[in-house]
Amino acid sequence: MESTTRNYTTRKEFFKQYKKKSRMQEIWRMFCKNKLAVLGLILFIIIVAVAVAAPLIADYNQEALKINVPQRLKAPNSEHILGTDEMGRDIFARIVHGARISLVVGLSSVALALFIGGAFGAIAGFFGGKTDNFIMRAMDVFLCLPDVLLALAIVAAFGTNLVNMTIAIGLSFTPKFSRVVRSAVMTVRGIEYVEAARAIGSTNTHIITNHILINCIGPIIVQVTLYVASAILTISALSFIGLGIQAPIPEWGNMLASGRAYMRDHAYIVMAPGLAIFVTILALNLLGDGLRDALDPRLKQ
């Protein structure tokens, strides 16, 4: 410790390297060290790019929607790289366009759930006592309904469109996020630095956002990535029972559902959307793990 103050000029130069690195650069450097996380990020970027560029890759009306009976149930070949489905539509085109719905609904419903559930969970965990009891018992009521059932009820009541589906899935995930955030907040709120923050005059809001939530970011990010995956599955489940994305519109879930009847002889029909879901979820999970490690300076070596 003495030496840090003594060799001042040389030390000063030594510390310049720290000064130049901003927090974002530091996080990025940590993230890049984790090869699997980088793989997850690359996969995720590819999926997002494909979803964004879908109209350039395949024509929506001609290839993804138009029924072409003579071409039905063709195995993958040079013209249809993933084959065609029972209506003769190109599976690759349908997967590419389906990615848009899955990603938009998956991400925005989780964002909604995180925002509402996170706020309630943070308040419940921080204040404890009666506030906690009141909020969490209310959340328990929602939690005892299965997600699909709750989402189904909302969609059935308000009609099936993308916005309603997003809200339905978002609300059904809300209690889960409030639980996760609450428990993370409770482990942090008793630590001395929270008391120290209070002792320098921070307000409760400031303590929650700047001291507590920032220390809970790890478990929250992991939950987000898991639930985006789970939301994509819920959309598929809703589509499967006919209350999600309606039949001609390509969506990974309803592609699985309609391909199910031909699975024995034409396995590629369900394999392609199944793999799409699998790869997306894998990418999100790898990305989430990597982000969690990179955001936590305690894990730096």
């Binding site: 410790m1 840090t4 103050t5 001042y8 030390r11 000063k12 510390f15 310049k16 720290y18 000064k19 690195k21 927090r23 006592g129 630590i191 001395e192 630095y193 008391e195 120290a196 923050a197 209070r198 002792a199 320098i200 005059g201 921070s202 307000t203 400031h206 700047n210 001291h211 920032i214 220390n215 970011i217 955001l295 936590d296 300076p297 305690r298 730096k300």
Partner: protein, 334 residues
């Protein structure tokens, strides 16, 4: 303890007859049982006692941060420059904390937020109290770091990149950022090793003079008291049993417990002398003994000690003691 010079001008802190209990379903922990403390402007008071004597609870009450809902302030008041902290609104409390009164916490390992840079953490109280924007606050935070002997460049590092002694310097920089009138140091050197202790104490002494702060130094180390404090209060079982200037306590101690504390210190000059630990343990704060709470461990205990709680008595202008031995005499009876 009853303090003679109440309402004297220039008192930074007055605590009067403070009683704090921690109440849970099946027991009541009597942490503080009638503590009186006065700190005059610019002076340092040492609060000395064993673990569990109520030192930290007393300190937290000054900031009105006694943990709720278990901690209950039964009676008494804490006055900061004449204003009662228990009557302040939440807003006034936030303005007071960190600006007028700052606290150095015991363990620098846990009192820094691990995911914020040390610069951000020092800047935080400047942003709150001086209404500075981020850049100005950061600039001042760096000056604070330099002042506690850490190169300003390290403001962008995280607590895990610092050693224990440097973390404690950072904690001190946070506490001093808004140059408070009163600094509460809750065993600031307990978690540090001896060489670093000396550095931190020197630093505290220097800064105290520079800013003309009052200070409450909580410790169980009499060496620290001798080095830093002007006055000493010895706390036992949640009560101040002896109070006086440094000379009163170190050279003319009266209370058997104070004597016991010194007896438990090794003497560097008489190397053959044996340590005399105080027999027994701190009383269970859920079940304090009747009468004087020190009597089961006291070598001078009389019959009356187990029945009647002793009253506080001033021996002279600066020295007071709470013990049955001094009912009618000022002479030492130890």
């Amino acid at each position: 303890m009853d303090i003679k010079k109440v309402n004297e001008d220039g008192n930074t802190l007055e605590i009067r007859n403070l009683v704090i209990h921690y109440i849970s379903d099946d027991e009541t922990v009597k942490a503080v049982n009638g503590v009186d403390i006065i700190i005059r402007s610019g002076k340092t008071l040492g609060l000395v006692g064993e673990t569990g004597a109520g030192k930290t609870t007393t300190a937290l009450s000054i900031l009105n941060l006694v943990p709720e809902p278990q901690g209950k302030i039964i009676s008494g008041e804490v006055l900061l420059e004449g204003k009662s902290v228990f009557e302040m609104t939440e807003h006034e409390l936030q303005d007071m904390r960190g600006d007028k009164v700052a606290m150095i916490f015991q363990d620098p390992m846990t009192s820094l937020n691990p995911v914020l840079t040390v610069g951000d953490q020092i800047a935080e109280s400047l942003e709150i109290h001086r209404k500075l924007n981020k850049d100005e606050a950061m600039k001042q935070a760096k000056e604070m770091l330099e002042m506690v002997g850490i190169p300003a460049e390290r403001a962008y590092e995280y607590p895990y990149q610092f050693s224990g002694g440097m973390k404690q310097r950072v904690v001190i920089a946070i506490a001093l950022a808004c140059s408070p009138d009163l600094l509460i140091a809750d065993e600031p050197t307990t978690a540090l090793d001896v060489t670093i202790q000396a550095q931190v104490l020197n630093l505290i002494n220097e800064l105290k003079q520079k800013y003309h702060m009052s200070m409450l130094m909580i410790t169980h180390d009499l060496g620290i008291v001798a080095e830093v404090c002007d006055e000493v209060s010895v706390i036992y079982g949640g009560r101040i049993v002896e109070h006086g200037t440094l000379e009163d306590i170190f050279d003319n101690m009266r209370h058997p417990y104070t004597k016991g504390l010194f007896g438990a210190l090794p003497d560097i000059e008489v190397r053959r002398s044996e340590l005399k630990p105080i027999k027994g343990l701190m009383p269970d704060p859920t079940n304090l003994p009747p009468g004087c709470s020190f009597h089961p461990r006291c070598d001078y205990a009389m019959e009356v000690c187990s029945k009647v709680a002793p009253e506080n008595r001033w021996l002279d202008d600066t020295h007071c003691v709470e013990c049955h031995l001094y009912k009618d005499t000022n002479e030492s009876r130890l």
